[in-house]
């Protein structure tokens, strides 16, 4: 239906308002396309990635940068590294993006199962890995990936107690988790505790002497109360600052991962590390291949390169890591290891345990939020 106009000025004003709307629409479209183009730039950049390249997701202190540079030089394969700060952050990114556009990841043991279940990982062809027979059998066929179909262990570590000789001149009063959980036996005014809810719960189980595979609601309540009581002598919860707290004499006793404390021990003779007699948590870093990776040849070339004796020794010395490869661990100087009698085959190794995923993330969260809200 054509619109009828009574006079010329009415027609003109109609045309002008029509033009005005169109101009505005044109402006909006122009800016929308500019902003969309700007956002899409990051996606377009994927198409300019060289064919002979690998994208790796890992913690910042697992593979020395010089190794990656050497690998690029030796093979001509370009490496793009992305870092993440926690396993949870990694899996969240996976869940949101569905395809992280990466080839290799170095996740911790407890996150492997969820990654497999959600189909994010590709099976590993063991015949293309030339280092399998060099791996300690103690780290193979673990419950989270029984036949190592999707993951291969690369480094391992333990949680323990770091302390200063200057404060504990006669050594620690006992070698037990009592020192951090039992008020009567806490040897100093304040300590530093791990800030990882999962790890903290495991340590509380060790202290309480409970089985880590079966936990009921009553036991969870007891753990929450234990954390709440412990809070009065915990100065800080941290996953990364234990070394600093020891060297700066902020706290004379800290709970933390061996590698972070041993790194400080290399330059500070006042520090020491011990694993309590009740045993502790075994942490295993693994190498896995993303399901979306289409560069198998390059991936296996990289994996074999990383497990090479010389390269692994370099990373282990740089970051005080414990390798899962026999020949490297056997040759690694004691100062980089920092623990006694806990290596595979030694008497205390059996006291190390991984923490199976018996608790839901919600149960873990509820405990952590409840006591930290006070």
């Amino acid at each position: 239906m054509m619109k009828k106009f009574h006079n010329n000025s009415e027609k003109q004003s109609y045309i002008l308002s029509f033009v005005k709307i169109n101009i505005r629409l044109l402006f909006i479209l122009f800016w929308l396309s500019c902003i969309t183009g700007f956002i899409l730039l990051s996606y377009v950049s994927h198409y300019f990635v060289p064919q002979r390249s690998l994208s790796i997701y890992m913690w910042s202190d697992k593979i020395d940068e010089s190794i990656l540079q050497k690998f690029e030089k030796d093979t001509g394969i370009k490496i793009y590294v992305n870092y993440y700060e926690s396993n949870e952050e990694l899996i969240t990114k996976f869940e949101i993006a569905k395809d992280l556009n990466c080839d290799i990841i170095l996740p911790s043991e407890y996150i492997i199962q969820p990654l497999i279940q959600q189909g994010f990982l590709k099976k590993i062809d063991h015949s293309r890995c030339d280092f399998i027979d060099r791996l300690y059998p103690e780290f193979m066929n673990m419950s989270f990936d029984p036949a190592n179909e999707y993951s291969l262990p690369i480094y391992w570590d333990v949680l323990g107690l770091g302390y200063t000789h200057s404060y504990f001149q006669d050594g620690l009063p006992s070698n037990s988790w009592n020192l951090i959980f039992n008020k009567k036996q806490v040897p100093c005014k304040q300590i530093s505790m791990v800030d990882d809810s999962r790890e903290a719960i495991f340590l509380s189980l060790k202290y309480l002497g409970w089985n880590s595979t079966q936990l009921n609601t009553q036991q969870l309540q007891t753990i929450e109360e234990l954390f709440l009581a412990q809070k009065s002598w915990v100065g800080a919860y941290t996953d990364f600052q234990q070394g600093y707290f020891l060297t700066s004499k902020t706290y004379p006793l800290v709970v933390g991962q061996r590698e972070r404390i041993v790194r400080e021990m290399l330059t500070d003779n006042d520090l020491a590390f011990t694993i309590p007699d009740e045993g502790t948590l075994l942490l295993i870093s693994n190498i896995v291949i993303c399901a979306s990776s289409q560069k198998d040849d390059l991936v296996y070339q990289f994996i074999n390169y990383i497990y090479n004796h010389e390269m692994m020794m370099l990373s282990c010395k740089e970051f005080c890591l414990l390798p899962t490869v026999k020949d490297v661990l056997e040759e690694l100087p004691q100062e980089y290891i920092g623990v006694q009698d806990c290596l595979p085959g030694q008497k205390n190794f059996k006291k190390l345990q991984i923490f199976p995923n018996v608790l839901t993330q919600k149960q873990i969260n509820d405990i952590w939020i409840a006591f930290k809200s006070f």
């Binding site: 003109q12 045309i15 002008l16 033009v19 005005k20 101009i23 505005r24 402006f27 909006i28 800016w31 929308l32 500019c34 902003i35 926690s86 949870e88 952050e89 899996i91 969240t92 869940e95 949101i96 304040q190 530093s192 800030d195 809810s197 809070k231 915990v234 100065g235 800080a236 919860y237 941290t238 600093y244 700066s248 004499k249 902020t250 993330q361 919600k362 873990i364 969260n365 952590w368 939020i369 409840a370 930290k372 809200s373 006070f374």
Partner: protein, 291 residues
């Protein structure tokens, strides 16, 4: 007609210029907020929506521990904003009404914190507050203490650094509103026999109230959700709103509860801001009727 269209295009230049800002705000602020609201009213895994409308997340989130965390953040934001206001006002007053020479130099000094990364500022405080830090050394040198004290990982450290970081955010709006005050009004007040106290309450404060409110709410709202300072200097002993949101989204991976918590904390922030707004209005009114 052609001329008319040409004029029209020229008149629409302002529309051309403001459109990207509106699109940007809508796409990256309004839409995500709508998404958070939808997430809070639904259930599912991660960011997926399984059940369309439910209030279960709110029923779960409204409990004592969550309310306590929000109140703690309100307390932190209030203390930071009030302390900043009390310290910033004399500084801004002095700069705006008394300093004549080197004014820009002083303003430059105030803007230096904006040029330094927040993390660098926070880590610098470690060296001041730690056991071997400047404060302990000074106190021991002066004989005030015999043994070094632990200032790190405490409320004191959080409040001190919050105050330090947010002080410039308070000074700037205060300075700009105080500078606009016509000094003749102040002189007239003194000429008519008013004391400094009366002049301040009846002339200066009401006229600087827009700056007070702008600075206060700028500091209050931003410090309510502060994540870095309580995490690094508080020793992670206590959850604040920022840390709990991060816990829900990245560690707990429960986006729906996290979104419900964001809505709840935003609601409480809004209510507390309204209360402060009412208080400011009351102070302004009071100062106008004061004799």
């Amino acid at each position: 007609m052609f001329e008319e269209i040409k004029k029209l295009i020229k008149a629409e230049t302002y529309f051309f210029l403001v459109t990207p800002a509106f699109i940007w705000q809508f796409a990256f602020l309004v839409l995500p907020l709508i998404f958070v609201l939808i997430l809070s009213l639904s259930q599912g895994q991660g960011s997926q929506l399984v059940q369309s409308f439910t209030l279960n997340n709110f029923y779960e989130i409204i409990d004592l521990s969550h309310i306590r965390i929000i109140l703690r953040s309100i307390m932190l934001a209030s203390t930071t904003a009030i302390a900043s206001l009390l310290i910033a006002y004399p500084i801004a007053y002095f700069l705006a009404l008394y300093v004549k020479r080197f004014k820009f130099f002083f303003l430059f000094l105030l803007s230096i914190p904006f040029l330094i990364n927040l993390l660098v500022q926070v880590y610098a405080w470690f060296f001041i507050l730690e056991k071997n830090g400047v404060i302990n050394h000074t106190l021991m040198f002066l004989g005030v203490i015999q043994k070094p004290l632990n200032f790190l990982n405490s409320y004191f450290a959080i409040y001190l650094v919050m105050f330090h970081v947010y002080l410039p955010f308070m000074i700037m709006p205060l300075y700009s509103s105080l500078e606009k005050i016509d000094t003749k009004l102040i002189e007239a007040s003194y000429d008519l026999g008013a004391s400094f106290r009366t002049t301040f309450w009846r002339i200066i404060l009401p006229l600087s109230m827009p700056g007070v409110q702008a600075g206060f709410f700028l500091v209050y709202v931003v410090s309510f959700g502060e994540y870095v300072i309580p995490s690094l200097l508080g020793g992670m002993k206590l959850f604040f709103v920022g840390t709990l949101i991060s816990e829900y989204f990245f560690i707990g991976k429960d986006w729906h509860l996290g979104a419900a918590f964001i809505c709840l904390s935003c609601g409480m922030l809004f209510l507390s801001a309204l209360a402060y707004y009412w208080l400011f209005n009351k102070i302004t009114l009071q100062s106008k009727i004061m004799r």
